[in-house]
């Protein structure tokens, strides 16, 4: 559906997007994660036809976006990270305006508008003026606006930024609905964990470069390849520590009152071998567990690495 090849965007000498490659198959949700200034917005604007690339190729449905930009725009719905609304327009008029741009027939407009307002849960605000809506409502309205021409591909630039926790959950719910409707979605965020449960694929971008990309399970594997184990013993804390130190894939051991935390790299088998050894050595293990692999840790590790270069 969307294919980006060797995309480069420079502002003067500054390279905002540096040889970016990305592919989203039909019907997938791709999470685009990166710190501030990573180049997410720049990439998304290029896809949506609001910026021209310095070099490289962006294909939507096998058509180059620069070749036939008006045609392509019919199959893309774009929601910018920052946007404004017109004052002096009511919610229905606002959607009606964008519908008229796509030459949607007057008869169909009402039904489409109703359905979209239903989808983003703004049906009770249809007669309100758009500039009187709260930020979260405006965001949902803007999402509805980007859906007005029933695009196949959605480009959503931080749709959940600035929303309260409840609104975030609601936004996620809407996006899940869109996924069920078969839309292909590219969605950006600063927060990896926010996207992990929603997306099928994730790409982490830093300094204009893709650092890691792959399916969510692949990313998770990378996360869990460096996990933290936590051990609670009744007694013999020092002996337990000695045992752990024998394993080469364990490091950063920290001792608590009767707990041990340690960094561990390896497979599940390696981990069960450690437990077996502890038990056969007569250590009274109470619990032996793995701390939840923290996505943010990976994010920090991966992106900071980029900065050092």
């Amino acid at each position: 559906m969307l294919k980006i090849k060797d995309l480069v965007k420079t502002y003067g000498k500054f390279v905002a997007v540096n040889n970016l490659n990305l592919e989203i198959p039909q019907g997938e949700i791709y999470g685009f994660v990166g710190p501030n200034g990573a180049g997410k917005t720049t990439t998304m604007k290029i896809i949506s036809g609001l910026l021209t690339a310095t070099s490289g190729e962006v294909m939507v449905d096998n058509v180059d976006v620069t070749r036939n930009s008006r045609k392509i725009k019919e199959s893309i719905g774009y929601m910018p990270d920052f946007f404004g609304v017109y004052d002096d327009l009511k919610v229905t008029e606002y959607l009606d305006f964008y519908a008229s741009i796509y030459k949607i027939k007057e008869k169909e407009r009402k039904k489409i508008t109703d359905d979209l307002l239903e989808l983003v849960d703004l049906s009770n605000k249809r007669e309100s003026y758009v500039d009187s809506l709260s930020r979260g409502m405006k965001q949902r309205l803007c999402l509805a606006r980007s859906l007005i021409h029933n695009p196949k591909l959605l480009i959503l630039d931080e749709p959940a930024s600035g929303l309260d926790p409840r609104a975030r959950v609601e936004m996620k719910e809407i996006l899940r609905n869109l996924k069920d409707m078969g839309k292909t979605i590219l969605i950006s965020s600063h927060i990896l964990s926010e996207l992990a449960e929603l997306c099928t694929h994730i790409g982490i971008i830093d300094n204009g470069k893709m650092v890691i990309s792959g399916s969510v399970s692949e990313i998770m594997q990378q996360v869990y390849s460096s996990r933290v184990i936590k051990l609670k013993v009744n007694d013999k804390l020092e002996q337990a520590e000695m045992v752990l130190k024998e394993f080469p894939n364990i490091d950063k051991i920290t001792l608590g009152e009767n707990t041990i935390q340690a960094g561990f790299e390896g497979s599940d088998q390696d981990m069960s071998r450690i437990l077996a050894t502890l038990v056969t050595r007569g250590i009274p293990v109470v619990t032996f567990s793995q701390l939840d692999g923290n996505l943010e840790d990976v994010f920090m590790k991966v992106t900071r690495g980029g900065e050092v270069q």
Binding site: K45, S48, G49, L50, L51, T52, T66, S69, R70, K71, K73, E74, I76, Y78, P80, F82, F83, G84, V85, Y86, D88, L89, E93, F97, Y98, S100, I101, Y102, K103, C142, R145, H149
Partner: protein, 291 residues
């Protein structure tokens, strides 16, 4: 038929509430006051109770001048923020990411503003009809004058749109628009004046070419022509008065001025549409030959 969606939306928003009606009312009050003032003044001067067509000619030109000045001030104000305002409100990207061609955005904005001007002009008809009662002015002449207004307003509006699409801020665009307007009216006159002072004697019977771009020169030439080439207004413009002593043949300056306005409008609209288009094609003369 498909009406330009931007035009439709602008019309809806601009006509909403009391603002549009307020502007028309204010405009009419100014026009009416001026008319009463001028008419009253000419009554007192002539000390006559009979209706005199000459007097209505004076009122007509005064009214025409005031309306002309008002239009020159209002038209750029309506367009100088058209695109930069969208940029400032962060709504421009939402328009540009749709399939709407940039030319339609520019034209929609321009036509919406010009419609507002036309509304003002039409609203001023009752005021003009007062002169009509006195005689001396024909409907054809008023139609001619109104056409001149509208085309001038379109050109002035295009200048506003042009700067609005090239500048980030509406204030910058407004300043440049009025600056350009001032140059076209006063600057060209000044240059013509210096040129004549240095290079020409009093027998020079032509118009300095730069003045064809001057809307005021066009306006004065129109009014003087309507009065059979003896208008007193013409006297103070360099080159113009002499033209209308009846020696020069060829196209009237106001017609040339309107043609210039038309060409300028087409050029500025094209440049504006190109400017706001994010995916510009390189202009290539050879492109068409390849196909």
């Amino acid at each position: 038929m498909n009406i330009n969606p931007v035009l439709l939306k602008e019309a809806k928003v601009r006509m909403r509430g009391w603002r549009a009606a307020g502007i028309v009312a204010l405009y009419l009050v100014i026009l009416a006051l001026v008319t009463i003032f001028v008419a009253y003044d000419s009554y007192n001067n002539i000390y006559s109770s009979t209706i005199d067509p000459g007097r209505s000619v004076g009122t007509y030109s005064a009214l025409a001048v005031i309306q002309f000045i008002l239009i020159l001030f209002i038209a750029p104000a309506l367009t100088a923020g058209a695109i930069s305002g969208e940029r400032e409100k962060q709504t421009l990207d939402l328009l540009l990411c749709t399939k709407l061609p940039t030319r339609s955005i520019i034209l929609g904005k321009l036509v919406a503003s010009i419609s507002q001007i036309i509304l003002l002009i039409i609203a001023s008809l009752p005021v003009f009809s007062v002169i009509f009662m006195f005689g001396g002015i024909s409907i054809a002449e008023i139609a001619q004058l109104f056409m001149f207004y509208i085309i001038t307003a379109i050109a002035a509006g295009s200048i506003g749109i042009f700067y609005s699409s090239h500048m980030k801020k509406t204030t910058a665009s407004t300043v440049l628009t009025y600056g350009t307007g001032a140059f076209m009216i006063l600057g060209t006159l000044f240059i013509a004046w210096i040129y004549m002072g240095i290079f020409r004697d009093n027998n020079y019977k032509e118009i300095f070419p730069l003045l064809y771009a001057n809307p005021l020169v066009g306006f004065v030439s129109l009014i003087s022509e309507q009065f059979g080439g003896q208008g007193s207004l013409a006297g103070f413009l360099p080159g113009i008065g002499r033209t209308y002593t009846g020696t020069t043949k060829g196209m009237s300056p106001w017609i040339i001025n309107l043609i210039f306005d038309g060409a300028l409008t087409v050029l500025l609209i094209t440049l504006s549409a190109r400017k706001i288009n994010p995916v510009k094609r390189k202009i290539s003369i050879f492109k068409k030959k390849k196909i």
